[in-house]
């Protein structure tokens, strides 16, 4: 049997996951409205324009993390519903390619979600930012999303075959992504100019996000196969 290259298998897996989303519209019809509702609820809870503008970056990333839990659960629910993940492993498909493909599909979905959340913060909380600040927010989103995609796929795979995975995944995942929450929030604060912060203050945090992304991408590529096999 011919064996495709790792890149072409990863592309096939990513394309398949995005097709699943395109066909089911779960992100569009359920996750995005959930994220928007979280942002609105924060606005009701805080009910002060000054505070909202100051804490907007943290709220954007908290809403991203909560929504990511749903997207990761969904990403592996489609794999386990009819034994597809097992079938991939049984067929000898390269686990690093499965990891890369699923992570890329998750990243694409998270990026779309984050763009919507930042736009919601601008409209709902009255956040204002310069063009340079916007550029930094975009870089922050990309760096944070690569890390979240990698760690989300790794822990999603770990929890996929476990009883009670719906409640286990948040317990496993949220502590691990705390550095992303902190780094992305600080970098976004600099981009938004929240509390008088300067754009230049965001770059060290973006470096932290890049380091996190590199580490978990590498760990995920190696560990995903053994974790799924278990």
């Amino acid at each position: 049997m011919a064996v495709s290259s790792r890149r072409s298998v990863a592309t096939a897996v990513a394309r398949k996951d995005l097709l699943v989303e395109w066909n089911s519209k779960i992100l569009m019809n359920q996750v995005a409205p959930f994220a928007a509702i979280v942002m609105v609820m924060f606005a009701f809870a805080l009910d002060n324009d000054g505070i909202l503008q100051r804490v907007a970056p943290g709220l954007v990333w908290l809403a991203t993390l909560f929504s990511m839990l749903v997207v990761v659960q969904r990403s592996f629910a489609v794999e386990t519903a009819d034994g597809a993940l097992d079938a991939l492993r049984v067929a000898g498909v390269d686990p690093a390619a499965i990891f890369a493909g699923k992570a890329v599909a998750l990243m694409v979905q998270l990026l779309a979600l984050e763009a919507m959340l930042v736009a919601t913060a601008v409209v709902l909380y009255g956040v204002e930012m310069s063009l340079v600040g916007l550029g930094q927010v975009v870089v922050t989103m990309v760096a944070a999303t690569v890390g979240l995609g990698a760690v989300g796929t790794l822990y999603g795979g770990l929890a996929a075959g476990v009883k009670g995975r719906e409640t286990l995944l948040p317990l496993l995942l949220l502590p691990v992504v705390a550095p992303v929450l902190i780094g992305a929030t600080r970098a976004t604060e600099a981009g938004f100019g929240s509390g008088g912060t300067d754009v230049s203050e965001g770059w060290p945090w973006i470096i932290l996000l890049v380091v996190f992304a590199v580490i978990f991408s590498a760990v995920g590529s190696v560990a995903f196969g053994p974790l799924v096999d278990e």
Binding site: M1, A2, V9, K16, N23, A81, G83, G92, V93
Partner: protein, 211 residues
């Protein structure tokens, strides 16, 4: 005739218990071999050893000339194992499912069209989501995926399970076609009467051994 599966005194352990207790088992290319025996006899474990999924503790063997003790990953990419689940993505259409499996091995459009036609999941059915298919249609879609993966040995665990009489007849026809096209089939089935009419050879598995 070429021997494609050759196991000698194989012992395999599952959950701390010996699932296979020194089994000898061989299959020639182009055969349809039926594994029969009571629940827990070791039929599924034998299929999983042949698929490179279950490691062996003792004994030796080859599948398509590949050592089952040291090269299990290499076996996986050349055989097709279909268990109780079909391994389909329920939100994808039949065509999208088969296309995906084809992409994992670089199969071309002609191979995809041929597999879907052979399994009778082409035409209007091709654009139906897997979640909306009957049990038999899902099974046929899964088998189309095995064909595009160019599996040389089909290892099937209860392929008739959950199907009505017409669906079972279809599966039998598909397996005969597969063998005519050069594949080898090993199936475990509780439907001994039906499957014995299909098989060239019947192997009884009991207590982790074969006779």
């Amino acid at each position: 005739m070429e021997t494609v599966i050759n196991l000698s005194h194989v012992v395999a352990v599952l959950g701390g218990f010996p699932a296979l207790a020194g089994i000898d088992f061989s299959v020639q290319r182009g055969e349809i071999v039926l594994l029969q025996g009571p629940n827990g006899a070791g039929k599924t474990s034998l299929l999983r050893v042949c698929a490179g999924l279950l490691p062996i503790e003792r004994g030796s063997g080859t599948v398509l000339g590949i050592d089952i003790a040291t090269q299990r990953e290499d076996i996986r990419s050349r055989v097709g194992f279909l268990g109780h689940a079909n391994g389909l993505y329920l939100d994808l259409t039949v065509r999208q499912n088969v296309n995906f499996w084809a992409a994992t091995v670089g199969a071309d459009d002609a191979e995809i069209a041929s597999a879907m036609s052979r399994m009778k999941v082409d035409g209007r059915l091709a654009d139906v989501k897997a979640s909306q298919l009957s049990a038999g249609q899902r099974r046929r879609t899964a088998l189309a995926s095995l064909i595009v993966r160019r599996a040389e040995i089909w290892l099937l665990d209860e392929p008739h399970a959950g199907l009505d009489a017409a669906g079972r007849d279809e599966i039998d026809g598909i397996l005969r076609d597969a063998v005519a096209s050069g594949a080898t089939v090993v199936l475990a089935s509780h439907e001994s009467e039906r499957a014995s009419g299909l098989a060239n050879r019947i192997v009884t598995v009991d207590g982790g051994g074969a006779r």
